[in-house]
Point group: C2
Chain length 192, copies 2
Amino acid sequence: MCESEETRTAIMEATFEALAEHGYADLTIQTIADEFEKSKSLLYYHFETKEDLLGEFLGYLTDQFVAQVQAETAADATADERLRATLDLLVPTELEVADRRFRTALLELRLQAPYSETYAVRFEALDARLDSTFEAILTDGVKAGEFDVDPAVGAHVLTTAVTGEMLRMTTGGTDPATAREAVYAVVSRFRT
Amino acid sequence: MCESEETRTAIMEATFEALAEHGYADLTIQTIADEFEKSKSLLYYHFETKEDLLGEFLGYLTDQFVAQVQAETAADATADERLRATLDLLVPTELEVADRRFRTALLELRLQAPYSETYAVRFEALDARLDSTFEAILTDGVKAGEFDVDPAVGAHVLTTAVTGEMLRMTTGGTDPATAREAVYAVVSRFRT
């Protein structure tokens, strides 16, 4: 990893920690800098505003999701196994306090999208990436005879399901077990 | 309608207008009072804080949803027809500017739930009301042989689908037609 890449990763990790700790509303470049072990001026050098930094962070998060999906799924896994691995990342069996806080902050940030083109573009890309990940899996699953569903529509349904459950878990009292059961009930309807 | 009920309805309607116009972040009791045609002191007499007022508003909205579902569905309608009428209210074919703004404000308010017991209780009740509305329809549909689904799980799936699509429409670039198609794709999987 080159120096600038290492710095970027360190900044992104500091942003993750600051979001989980402070939530979105109380987040400032300063609270992120407080989590950043390297020179604070380096952070200010890379990002002028909180919006710049969080926009970049959303891109990092999207890339991280793709990398995690690849890491969690074996090359010879069936479509169903890949789907389960992907859903496990998105709708975990338990939601620890820091994880719940981070996901809440991410949803708060998402609700800034109607007022910020920077965030709107990033969340649109995040949703599109979730859609395309699910669509690729469902397409393979249909070819292999595991699933019987229009891959594009099925993928949209699954992205909405995981995003909606996240919203209900953080703000509607839904527990993780119920959320998972509901998401898997949708998946079961896609199976042949 | 008695005087106090009429006043309450007028306050709730003013709150609706103020939320659609200003969004949640810029909402104050004063901006609501500006939409309220009767005496402003009457509004301050009924509600001490914005949180009190918005909590009450969320209860009003939940009641309005139930009343609208009843008004839209004929007594002799099939479960499938009742389900369609309910979904039409929640995922409309078009999202006009004021409607989009109002739904965005409602989601912003929802993201306050992790920090406010008043809102948390109300959104939990709203989700529960959506769940129970769908569950009653699916239960009747299963009895009538129209649907083949566990009514409680199917209801949770549908509440998540409509809530998730609302979030994606306001913050993720999903258009209303795609949202509706996805919700109806879920429903089609519940049919016998």
